[in-house]
Symmetry: C2
Subunit: 214 residues, 2 copies
């Protein structure tokens, strides 16, 4: 039941895989049952060759003369990404961003289930936020164990991020989505994905400043 993997798949290809899946799910809601690399590429601003090459890193999913079967490919990509089963996720930080994560509707349908929320602030601990009761950091280890949590969302102030990141790793978490504007210093084996909101705006600032280069 293994998806065959040939070469080391380029990182950019893996990132695009998520976008392919997103698009495939959208197409699935229409009556279309099949799609070509050209069409899939166009909807995402990529070349047909790019799409084919990306997918071919992971297996032979296409049907010459036909294209890709939407349902089939979606299932394959989900399997590759590991989202054909549900991941339990925990959240640390019940501030602004944390609350948005608790309420975000886009996670469940994608295979991510938020199971618990933690905060270091005693004033917040015990408070109810939607379906969640904010837990103290002291309970972190137990929750990771009992819910087999592998992924966490880190939405704490910058000065706390490194320390909390370490706590998560020690508890057994293997991947962290980090919203704090700091580089986390963690073992190589831990997957870290950082989103710095101010950095996103800075990139826009740069691009908007430049004369539109023809």
């Amino acid at each position: 039941m293994e998806t065959p993997r040939h070469d080391p798949a380029p990182n950019p290809a893996v990132r695009r895989l998520s976008l392919y899946l997103r698009e495939l799910e959208a197409i699935r809601r229409t009556d279309r049952r099949t799609i070509s690399s050209k069409q899939l590429g166009e909807s995402l601003g990529l070349s047909d060759a790019q799409v084919r090459k990306d997918l071919a890193y992971f297996g032979q999913f296409g049907h010459p003369g036909i294209g890709y079967k939407v349902e089939e490919l979606a299932a394959q990509v989900k399997h590759i990404l590991g989202t054909d089963k549900t991941w339990n996720v925990l959240l640390v930080g019940a501030g602004n961003l944390g609350r948005a994560m608790m309420g975000y509707r886009g996670f469940e349908s994608k295979g991510f289930h938020l199971v618990a929320v933690f905060d270091a602030d005693d004033a917040k601990v015990g408070q109810k936020q939607g379906p969640f009761v904010i837990q103290p950091m002291s309970e972190l280890n137990d929750t990771v164990q009992s819910h087999h949590v592998k992924l966490a969302i880190l939405a704490v102030p910058p000065d706390d991020a490194q320390q909390v990141g370490k706590l998560l790793v020690d508890a057994g978490v293997r991947g962290i989505l980090n919203f704090a504007p700091v580089k986390l210093n963690l073992p190589e084996s831990i997957a870290v994905n950082s989103v710095d909101l101010a950095v996103q705006l800075e990139q826009l600032s740069f691009q908007v400043n430049i004369p539109p280069q023809k």
Copy 2:
């Protein structure tokens, strides 16, 4: 008063520029006045050569034998990114994510000033959220004009994103930070930066699933 630009600067270099700035601002809070490419690289997990090459795309900021003067380089990088002046930013979408953006403390100090919040939902219009009163979409054009808004944050449901993106562009917005999980179809000249939260988790899922490759 132009920063000299030599070659077309690689995109990845521009992305790292923001990280350099973040690090430089942190160092500025210490007593350190100067930093080498090696040190700056280490704090971000990059090679010294990478740092030097990136910076050299934009000018000669270093001092051989010494390194880079922290304050000086920070100012230069800010100028390159265009954040040495303040940008007025508007937000569309007063849902979960939108509220987090309104409360996010990381924007102001980085040169981004949130000036107004819009929502298509009549029930939300007129409500007060912190210092903001949610405005109706009909006022969007006026606000963009009167506040010379060039950048916007888009935090609306996926099905509305394309349409609202178009509205923003028509109103005169030049750059969009998009949180909706859809590809925006807008003119080439418009800068779009998309952050899909579910995609971020999917990438972690993939990495955590793979046997740690040595």
